[in-house]
Homo-oligomer: 355 residues x 2
């Protein structure tokens, strides 16, 4: 199979070689060293401001989205939440569950965020935080983080950014944007197996974590941070995946860092987007990430049927959508160990399936 | 390295071969089939009563301990919690966090549970639930589940059992004991990488889950169960580890099931225990599981120093203890892909280190 899904994605040889080994015992100085290096490289690659910290959660990206809200915000806050798809809706639901008051900035599927979208919702100075999925992965819309960052600076808002699918695919620098929390996952452009997510916390977010006590043992970031001080975790983590993340972070560092990764995703995305023009496919996002191309078949075919045919007849995974968009949209990812030749195979299979 | 720790443990070739492969896309009929088979085999191997269900949580065993308490109990309950070590203490803390009233049955390190221990704490009929770590892994004490099961039946108590380290190592049958919740993890005798835990729920526990709304999206078992109906999960799970669990569960089934696994752990445990008599080591548990042998050096050596020497000079991991027990106790596991020859190597290394 060739995997163009939005995660899990294809891993490089070094990562898969670690997967073939027995997982080592981890309450050791050797594993602590790995975890401290993981933290250092995550801080570097996220452009985190001085004094930031990173913790590794054994759980999906949603686990870290929820842990971030639970530890950084309280019922005394009021947040603005961008909701342009199922991941925006997820942040709203997390705020509901944890009694964090918020106003929602609704965006139709495929629409980018404009200043007037914020202004039409945000009334007065009652806000303390801004919550956004930098890349609304469900519909492939990449929000303008400069716009959001400037708005947050002007209004002194804490900025919480789900960067799960855009990390290493599009430029992002926490210090420049003024972001306080950045979340990502192991199975997107980190190209490791799923099961680990990462939370990077600015000094301002860390002060909030220190002052709060979340009603959950597993998602207590104070405990995670205290353990990470010595390169450990409160509970048995996905040790194997953390070793794979280590190999991948070092590989990225050696190859030239984030800019090289972003350029690679951009090359794959542009190659594919440049060659679909002859197919009955329409890009349905006003603002694209290099991570994903969201497509609508204009020949009347069901997007989900195309997904099934590519899987069953061509040995290719693309990413279907759920809910209302199931028959309308599919997505093609540009993350993980993929080559231009892989896209040639996809394009030729798409031509056959859509003929 | 040879790994005699209490987890992660050594995996068989079939499990490691899956680790070497790319992780597949999972919103597919193919992955659903794997997950439904995983549920079926977990129900079979836990001896779950008719109408039970199993869900797979991407997280440590503690994640599933906490999810179980959050979804099955409320502030209207009153539980009896056995606390004979750090995992018993963890259940008490989880109850504190989630406002579940409880009375603690304290046991000194190494002591088994007797009827009088329960009777000295349990006053009146005010209890609704009993919570126990079947095997208090921190000190290697294996509690008498017949005693506990009978007490719960007599008093109509819901019985929640952390079976994380004892599953597949010691006999356990939910239906016979009358257990309502059984928790285990991927990295103990399932001998897969860490990162996934499993919760098996009896019909009585399922009715409780249906009636409760936990204050957490990630640990909402109603959502997990609704997704597992079709072999899926609410959020991206540790797909690779779930495929490895599938291979291992089928391997166990083909080899004769739980009884064969328990016999294998028993053989390893008895072989090792029979041969340490000439060493200055004392077993410090009144009631042993086949999973682990907890040992105290009687020659004045620090248990932690023995762990370090075996690791650094002999390429062997045993399991150190933390806190007060750090210098007093180390543990030797009998889980995972280990042979009698491996124990010969450990015994010879122990002789050298302790000479």
């Amino acid at each position: 199979m060739i995997n163009f899904s939005v995660g899990p994605v294809q891993s490089c040889d070094a990562v898969r070689a670690i997967g073939a080994e027995n997982v080592p015992y981890f309450r050791t100085a050797e594993f602590s060293k790995v975890m401290l290096e993981n933290e250092r490289l995550m801080l570097k690659f996220s452009g985190a401001p001085d004094g930031s910290r990173a913790v590794f959660i054994t759980g999906s990206g949603t686990a870290s989205m929820e842990a971030s809200i639970m530890n950084v915000l309280t019922s005394q806050d009021r947040a603005l939440v961008v909701n342009g798809g199922s991941f925006g809706a997820r942040f709203c639901k997390i705020c509901d569950i944890h009694n964090v008051p918020y106003d929602m900035i609704p965006l139709p599927a495929g629409h980018k965020l404009r200043q007037e979208d914020i202004d039409s919702v945000a009334k007065g100075n009652k806000y303390t935080a801004f919550i956004v999925n930098k890349h609304e992965t469900s519909t492939g819309v990449h929000y303008d983080m400069r716009l959001i960052g400037e708005y947050c600076k002007k209004n002194t808002l804490l900025l919480i950014v789900d960067n799960i699918s855009s990390f290493l695919c599009d430029e992002f620098n926490m210090a420049e944007i003024g972001a306080d929390v950045m979340i990502t996952g192991s199975q997107k452009a980190l190209a490791c197996p799923p099961g680990v997510s990462v939370i990077v916390l600015s000094p301002r977010a860390l002060a909030r974590v220190a002052a709060n006590t979340p009603q959950c043992m597993y998602f207590d970031l104070k405990d995670a941070l205290a353990n990470q001080d010595r390169g450990q975790t409160p509970f048995t983590p996905a040790v194997g995946t953390l070793l794979q993340i280590n190999a991948r972070l070092k590989e990225i560092d050696a190859a030239g860092g984030v800019a090289v990764e972003v350029a690679r995703a951009k090359e794959l995305a542009e190659y594919f987007r440049g060659r679909i023009k002859e197919l009955p496919l329409e890009i349905v996002s006003e603002s694209l990430s290099n991570a994903v191309t969201p497509l609508h078949p204009t020949n009347g075919m069901s997007a989900y049927d195309i997904f099934l045919k590519l899987k069953d007849e061509h040995g290719i995974w693309i990413c279907p959508n759920g809910g209302d968009l199931k028959d309308k949209i599919f997505r093609v990812g540009h993350m993980g160990c993929l080559s231009l030749e892989d896209y040639d195979k996809l394009l030729s299979a798409l031509k056959e399936v859509m003929a």
